[in-house]
Each structure stands twice: as C-alpha cells, then as structure tokens.
C-alpha cells in the first residue's frame, strides 16, 4: 500500500527539496505545495520508472560524489591544457568499448554521466543489451589503460554502492 502511494521516496524527497529551493523560502504554504508535488509526481510517473533502485550504502555514495567532484576539477585542467597547448596532429582521439557489469540501469546511467564529466572521456552510446559502453576519448595514447582506469575507479565503486 505504502509502496504504491510513495513509489520512490528518494525522488519525493528530491522534489520537495527542489521546490523549497526554487521558492527560496521555508514557510507553511511552500512546504504544503512541495509535499503535494513530491507525492503526486512520483505516483503519476511511476509507470515510466517501475523498479526502485536499491542503495546498499549511502555513505559510499557520498564518498563517490566527492571523488567525482575532485576528478571533474582535475579533468578540466587536463582538457584545458589539451585545448590550449596541444597541436592538432598530436591529439590522438580514440573510440573505446568498455564492457560493463552493473546490476541496475540507475547505476549504468550514473557511470555514463560520470564518464562524460571526467578526464577527456565522453559516453556516446550503450549496447542494446546494456552490457557495454561506447566511449570517445579526446586524447588517449593508451586506450587500454583508460578502459582499465574507468573499470577500477568508477565501476568497482558503483558495484559496491548499488546492490
């Protein structure tokens, strides 16, 4: 019953928070409207998102987000250096395939987003059976090392976060 009324508690909390941030004030009518939206939208969209993602450890998720933010900062300096100082003929772009073994589509989406935001890599597509990601590297002298790096640094952590 409760699972039907609140299909995604995380999404509900996120919607309430977003609405309060949007109105930029915490008053009774803001909260009532926020709760209303937070309850209605997940129910109305439940058929598009049937399974609830199972988080195994939220603490690890926070650590993961911290790691990604740090990597994004480092990534930007690397990409800036490539754009500014590397001549065209030295930039070696490459397509690579990364085989993926993740339990849920949510984890896969998170990995794809992480890859796009971090050093010189960009997720371009996923195989139709969701077992491999197509990634474009801006400058990868050693594509195999990039692939192993993605698998060890991000995928292994996500496997531990999502059950």
């Amino acid at each position: 019953m409760i699972a039907r009324l609140i299909p995604h508690p995380g999404l509900s909390a996120f919607l309430v928070l977003t609405w309060v941030l949007l109105t930029n004030s915490v008053s009774l009518n803001t909260l009532v409207l926020a709760l209303l939206l937070g309850l209605a939208i997940p129910v109305l969209t439940a058929s598009y998102w049937p399974d609830r993602p199972r988080l195994r450890s939220p603490v690890r998720l926070l650590c993961y987000i911290g790691l990604v933010v740090w990597d994004v900062i480092v990534a930007n300096f690397q990409v800036a250096r490539i754009i500014l100082f590397m001549p065209h003929d030295q930039i070696r772009s490459a397509w690579i395939t990364v085989p993926i073994d993740l339990p849920s589509p949510e984890a896969l989406a998170m990995l794809a987003g992480t890859i796009t935001l971090t050093p010189g890599t960009l997720t371009a597509d996923v195989s139709a059976d969701r077992k491999a990601l197509l990634i474009h590297c801006l400058h990868a002298p050693d594509p195999d090392a990039t692939r192993d790096d993605i698998k060890q640094r991000y995928e292994a952590r996500l496997q531990r976060i999502f059950a």
Binding site: L21, N24, V79, I83, I91, W95, P99, L134, H136
Partner: protein
C-alpha cells in the same frame, strides 16, 4: 565585505571566466565533430559553476541570507551536461561510417543502430 571573501570571489570570477573562454575557444579550435563535443561539456560547465559560486558568495555577504538559486542552477547544469553530450554524440553517430566504431563485444549492436526487437 571582508578582504578574504573579496579575494575568494575575485578568484572564482577569474577562474570561471578563463574556463568559459577555453570552452568556447575549444569549440573553434578542435578538429572533428566528436573532439569539439569535449570542450563545451567540461570547460564551460565548470566556468559557469565558478561564476555561480561567486554569485552565491556575494549574495551571502550582501544580505546575510543564503540564496539557494545558485545551488539549483549548478546542480541543474551538472545533471544536464552529460545528457546533452550523450544526445549530441548519438546525433553525430548517425553520420559516422559503421566501420569506424569498435565492436560491442556483446551479441547486440550499439543501441543507436540496433534494429528494434
């Protein structure tokens, strides 16, 4: 506004401006459609992120109350940048010759060219 805060805000503004400029410059300089996709998705997003940090700090100093709109804009930009890049990459793949892409290593093809069903 205290001196330390002013230095922090100025640094955020300068770094943000430089990264924003680099992102737009990369769009002009890099060759090849996929290479060009890398520049704006990273540099520009962080450039705007730095600008928003500066805006949040000045707002905090001026009114003594936190404005949360900056947090929303930043979160929104960082959530949507990968999606925009993914869709643009998919659009580029339409014109990429099939032999250029590596094999998936699985029975099915890349979802962009895999026949439905």
């Amino acid at each position: 506004m205290s001196l330390a805060l002013e230095i922090l805000v100025s640094a955020a503004l300068v770094v943000g401006g430089i990264f924003g400029l680099i992102g737009s410059f990369g769009l002009l300089k890099l060759r090849g459609a996929m290479q060009r996709l890398h520049a704006p998705t990273k540099a520009t997003t962080v450039g705007v992120g730095c600008t928003l940090i500066a805006s949040a700090l000045t707002g905090l100093a001026a009114t003594q109350a936190a404005s949360w709109h900056e947090v929303l804009v930043t979160a929104f930009l960082f959530l949507t940048a990968p999606l925009t890049a993914l869709y643009l990459a998919k659009t580029h793949m339409l014109t990429t010759p099939p032999g250029e892409l590596p094999p998936t290593g699985t029975p099915r093809d890349w979802s962009n060219r895999d026949a439905p069903g």
